[in-house]
Symmetry: C3
Subunit: 393 residues, 3 copies
């Protein structure tokens, strides 16, 4: 528990303003807030390992809204809220009648009377997911101000069209532990690269979240993708600005090989081009199945031109000392395992498989830390009290 | 917390017999029991606002059975049972094999071994929903008597074919708070009127529950609907009897305008005629999709004759001082918002939107009060203890 | 609470090695472990009856994976984990992307970061269900060893292709209570017989689990089925060996009448022949609907030759004194009630209906006992402490 005390002391020094706030985009949080969040997540993880409970709510609901399939984030959220003492209710839109417009405002209040936190995944519609979360946040803010709600639940982004905060913060914590500290990330090269996948339409949120967050901590971020597979232009511009501010580096290259060259970390992952996502949104809205099929066919044909974008042993040899850390948000498309040819070769994945599991293992604690910092006025005092308590899970 | 003490003192004076009993119809409860239930709900709401937990169960299950879509009641039930310390398990009939007949008796016991409360919504089948709840109640009663169950869970009506107790009690509590006391409801005019909706087949439970409950507290209840849109005749007769007993008034008129005239409260809401619901039941049982479509077509055509039954600013001007309280159980069909033309104009709804949210906000506390009064021998003593405790959520 | 003290004293005498272990097959557990498990289940049941909570976890998740429909086991698991203080998360494979192969290993870890127990039902595929559970167990074992998981959740078989431990242990506890003790089961005759059902494809797990478990406690187990309706040959061989060891008896006969003759207990239940289940597995894998329909048609035609295999009053008269205990895992196919002709006549079932409910009532406590013995180093000490506590549910 000695590291815990050090972490708490470090935490106490940081100035944060997260009480009562949502977590919708990593780049809306200050560096100090990101640092604090990682420290809280580490405390919770160590307490869990020591079988010390960190239940801070006697009762209360956490609501999750998943507008896309999910296993990892679903269970991470479920684990986190349970560990904090909250009960979980999923809003199943098939069993309800949630829709856009007027009813978002209404439903947000109807599910919030005794609710402390609302977690939302909405990553299918470019230009809409994050906005939907903001609509929900505004609605509960209004409800709270106007006496409808006794408390104002915080909204947490469980992946949207632009960012995936819980994932990339777990990634950052993984890097912090791997290299020893956030300071040691300075000057380390991370290759965030597109990779080939037989499926299509994966969100842009992970690569976007990674380039925003890692540039802030002084990493040398290299983004690589085939022609036509760009990210949202505004997000790329922001990464450039953030890297300038932190004294890091941000560059875009046109091949996986170039990106991997002398990299300390590689993060090869498929995504759908920004322009495709833009064309997809109206088709999804219109429920135009034929249009969606045509678009998919066109994209898969285009994808097929880039089957060489696979993370294999040959390319890994280009990295620093041939032993960069391989990262993935999972599930990966593994050549010869989950598909004929995919994002990563079987040999590379197997070598780093358990490392990717550990990367994922931080997510429940990151989510719990987000909730704790949003719902408690003095998280440090509460953590101190929890650590002192003579209870065991 | 001063009001809390007054409420508890008032509560102590009331003679109630709710321990171990179900809540299946409001009119099976005495006036004193209804008064007590509202007082308990108010206590719980105030405790929640003060962040005082009211967990009374260490462990135990609450089971919900939803045979129709639901968001508001689903989350109200989830919130209430969580706040009391129970875990929620939904009986999903698709994942199970529940059926009528022998198996209701059996399933009721199979889900009840460690269960404190069963909440049921069954509002699709006229003449059956409430009966199904009674079947479940009888089955667990038998199981308890014959040593199958260690405790006898209480059954709570979360909306049936004849009544919607959790909704109309939240409505009554809303009125109590709006006018200051139940006593002040005497002589107040409430217009429970049919309203036009582009959908069809909404249950009769809300208007029926409203006319039964509000007549009991001496209100002047005016029911209005177009020709052919009557409620269940026996329920209407009961409302007449109840109003005579309470010294209130109950009348039926043929236009929204007449009902609104000098009203203190208006509750305009669509429902399907009693006779249509009767014809629908066998069609639903037979899974006769063509028959159901034909019936829907016929009804929508008939509905279309009454598009004038919309709560708009012009009609609101007819109410007392032009500023009656507008009520709705939500979601409302709002003209120009959720449909081209519906139950209420956009302007009227927007004016009362937050008031309808507050109306809904009482439901979790009403449900928690129902459970508390059904499962605890001495609710007053328990509430006193909870209030004295130095804990915080 | 006097019986509780006796039970605890008896429990203390038994040597068990269940801490940190899974529960995948009854025959992997020693007789002492089975005895201990029943004693713990009885303690928990008595504590529940006395409204004493037995919450042993402050927080933590229980995950269930149901690959087949379930009501009884689903609610038993939900009740058990709630009573122990765990939160329940169901892994819904439609909302996730679980598949065989690589991803079992991965998903098992992804759902386990804060998980204490994983309950699995996988009874559709002969030769695979139990193996799947072992895959999950190996995966979390690896995750724990390699520092991915802080704790290693235990895996509990909620019915597989070969055994149904939670059911048959509830059955054994029912027999223990019925006859007074496990010792009194010696020499008692139980008829585990096939019975006719209009449906087809019921798992072999119950009859197989029953013959394995009851032979171990010295019962005279008679298995009966029509030609071609045999169980897995290896399981039958094991039952023979177990009965020799315990000094009991195991025989196979060809008619329900012969099996019922002088029986103390009868357990008539439909199952699909072993050979049919073998043919069904590849068809299910291929999603070969036509092949499955053809197989079903063939089997139902074959089944129809054995409509005489119904447990009726005439056959019950053949049992000891005409009053053997009738058992069933529920739901039973009851002639004239849930089907035209089925496993049991209406008259026989009605006579024993409440007894079968009581039989089922042990299942939540059996599951809770499995978890308690797998997760606590010293269950006796914990039970003593719980009993001494002055709390009430």
């Amino acid at each position: 528990m000695n590291t815990l005390k050090t972490q708490l002391a470090e935490l106490q020094e940081l100035t944060t303003d997260t009480y009562g706030k949502d977590f919708l985009l990593t780049w809306e949080k200050t560096d100090a807030e990101i640092r604090a969040l990682l420290l809280v997540a580490e405390c919770l993880s160590e307490m869990h390992q020591a079988r010390k409970p960190f239940r801070v709510f006697e009762t209360g609901l956490a609501v999750s809204i998943f507008r896309d399939k999910s296993t990892r984030t679903r269970f991470s959220f479920a684990s986190a809220v349970n560990a904090l003492g909250l009960g979980l209710s999923e809003l199943d839109e098939e069993k309800s009648q949630l829709a856009h417009g007027e009813t978002v405002r209404e439903t947000a209040n109807m599910i919030s009377f005794l609710t402390e936190v609302i977690g939302i995944r909405d990553d299918m519609y470019l230009g809409e997911g994050n906005n939907y979360m903001r609509e929900v946040a505004h609605a509960v803010q209004e409800g709270f101000k106007k006496g409808v709600l006794h408390q104002r639940p915080c909204v947490i982004n469980l992946q949207c069209d632009v960012d995936h905060p819980t994932q990339v913060l777990a990634d950052l914590l993984h890097l912090k532990r791997h290299f020893g500290s956030l300071e040691k990330l300075k000057g380390k090269k991370i290759a965030m690269t597109w990779a080939y996948s037989p499926s299509y339409g994966k969100p842009l949120s992970v690569p976007q979240g990674v380039i925003e967050l890692m540039t802030r901590f002084g990493m040398e971020v290299t983004l690589a993708f085939p022609e036509g597979y760009g990210l949202i232009p505004d997000v790329v511009k922001l990464a450039q600005a953030l890297s300038r501010k932190s004294g890091g580096k941000f560059e875009i290259v046109a091949s996986m090989e170039e990106a991997f060259s002398q990299a300390d970390v590689v993060y090869p992952k498929s995504w759908a081009p920004y322009q495709v996502m833009e064309r997809r949104t109206p088709l999804l809205h219109q429920g135009d199945k034929d249009g969606l099929k045509l678009l998919e066919k066109e994209c898969l044909a285009n994808n097929a031109r880039f089957k060489g974008w696979e993370c294999d042993e040959r390319k890994m040899k280009l990295t620093k000392g041939g032993k960069a850390l391989y990262m993935h948000c999972l599930p990966a498309d593994i050549s010869g395992v989950s598909c004929a040819q995919g994002e990563v070769s079987k040999a590379v994945f197997e070598q780093y498989r358990l490392a990717t599991y550990r990367e994922a293992s931080f997510k429940p604690f990151v989510i719990a830390a987000m909730i704790l910092m949003a719902r408690l006025k003095d998280p440090v005092a509460v953590l101190r009290k929890l650590m002192a308590a003579e209870v065991s899970r």
